[in-house]
């Protein structure tokens, strides 16, 4: 490993695997990021297909895991969106599973964390933002824009309230993407830095940072799951707002 590879940020570097590919001036190389996305999708597919292949009425361990995941997302959707939310279940479930698997797979030693790049989380957040806005406009027509006029506010406050409401609506994709990406980056940098101390301290004191990393790894696992949950629940809440307005 080269000297600069010891930088705690080196783990986030995008590297093309098997040479760069250019199509029409666009760099579409298959990178380590793409590889781990493919791995995440393959793992999810294998997890769900193999887990449910028996379709037993009394589920085994693996099948209960799959059913638990299904139940978790379906409850989340029902509690936050209501019955109209059923139609969006496939989308929300895929989103949750992809983020969860990307986050957790990223914790494997030597793995690349897909969600540590804002271009990935930002693309997902923008997609959700555009989708939710379209859902709102399709469902309510121009009435959707009353969402930006808070109810019960006096008329003279409207010139101030409407820009504020529009900004707080428009920052949604940012908050959504920055939260996930920043948590992933911060966690992985912290693990790398403290792990680096183990080398610096040598045999005598080196076990201390290793113990700390072990404990932090548990925390990172919690954050990986929690951030997938937060991302998904916010998607549900945005859907609720678009469907019900206020």
């Amino acid at each position: 490993m080269a000297a600069e590879a010891h930088s705690p940020l080196a783990q986030f570097e995008i590297q093309p695997l098997g040479g760069p590919i250019h199509i029409g001036g666009l760099d579409v190389s298959f990178t380590n990021s793409s590889l781990w996305m493919v791995i995440a999708v393959a793992a999810i597919t294998a997890f769900m297909l193999l887990g449910t292949r028996k379709q037993a009425i009394v589920p085994g361990r693996w099948q209960s895991l799959c059913e638990g995941m299904y139940d978790f997302v379906s409850n989340m959707l029902r509690d936050n969106v209501g019955q109209e939310g059923r139609a969006y279940f496939p989308f929300v479930f895929s989103l949750f599973m992809f983020i969860l698997f990307a986050n957790v797979l990223g914790l494997l030693p030597g793995a690349f964390t897909v969600t540590s790049h804002i271009v990935v989380t930002g693309a997902m957040a923008l997609f959700i933002f555009v989708m939710v806005t379209i859902v709102g406009i399709v469902r309510h027509g121009l009435h959707f824009f009353t969402y930006f006029a808070p109810q019960g506010a006096p008329m003279w406050l409207m010139p101030l309230m409407i820009p504020i409401e529009i900004i707080s609506y428009a920052i949604r994709p940012m908050t959504l993407s920055i939260r996930l990406f920043a948590n992933m980056v911060a966690g992985h940098v912290m693990l790398a830095v403290i792990g680096g101390f183990a080398f610096a301290l040598g045999v005598w004191a080196g076990w201390l940072p290793i113990a700390a990393v072990t404990a932090l790894f548990g925390l990172e696992l919690l954050i990986a799951c929690l951030q997938a949950y937060v991302f998904t629940i916010l998607t549900c809440i945005y859907l609720h707002d678009a469907i019900h307005l206020h």
Binding site: N75, R78, D79, G82, Q83, P163, I164, E165, I167, S168, A170, I171, M174, T175, I178, R179, A182, N183, L226, Q227, Y229, V230, I233, L234
Partner: protein
């Protein structure tokens, strides 16, 4: 498998009925959506909301200023609006959490 008390079976039937009611959205079950949002998740949402509001206000204001040559007025104005928007979101979120917690307590 050990032999179960028939009373357990009754209890199971009641539970099954409650779960069915909840899923199909009728009866008591549907109204009693327990607040299972973890507070850590709420904390994460609040903290980022405050920061991003200000940043987006600044960025948007800067862009408008660059286009119109009105530096620095839009940047300052929109920064404040962004700050207010962030605080609004946090207040709205905490009201929502409060409401759901109160509802849970009453049930």
């Amino acid at each position: 498998m050990t032999e179960k008390d028939p009373r357990d079976l009754d209890k199971f039937d009641a539970k099954l009925k409650a779960a069915r009611d909840r899923i199909e959205g009728r009866g008591e079950g549907s109204k009693k959506s327990s607040y299972n949002d973890s507070l850590v998740a709420v904390g994460y949402r609040m903290s980022i909301e405050l920061v991003v509001g200000v940043c987006v206000g600044l960025g948007l204001g800067w862009l408008i200023d660059m286009q119109m040559g009105t530096r620095p007025w839009f940047m300052i104005g929109l920064m404040f609006l962004g700050m207010v928007a962030g605080i609004f979101n946090v207040v709205r979120l905490s009201k929502d959490v409060q409401r759901r917690m109160d509802k849970d307590k009453r049930d």
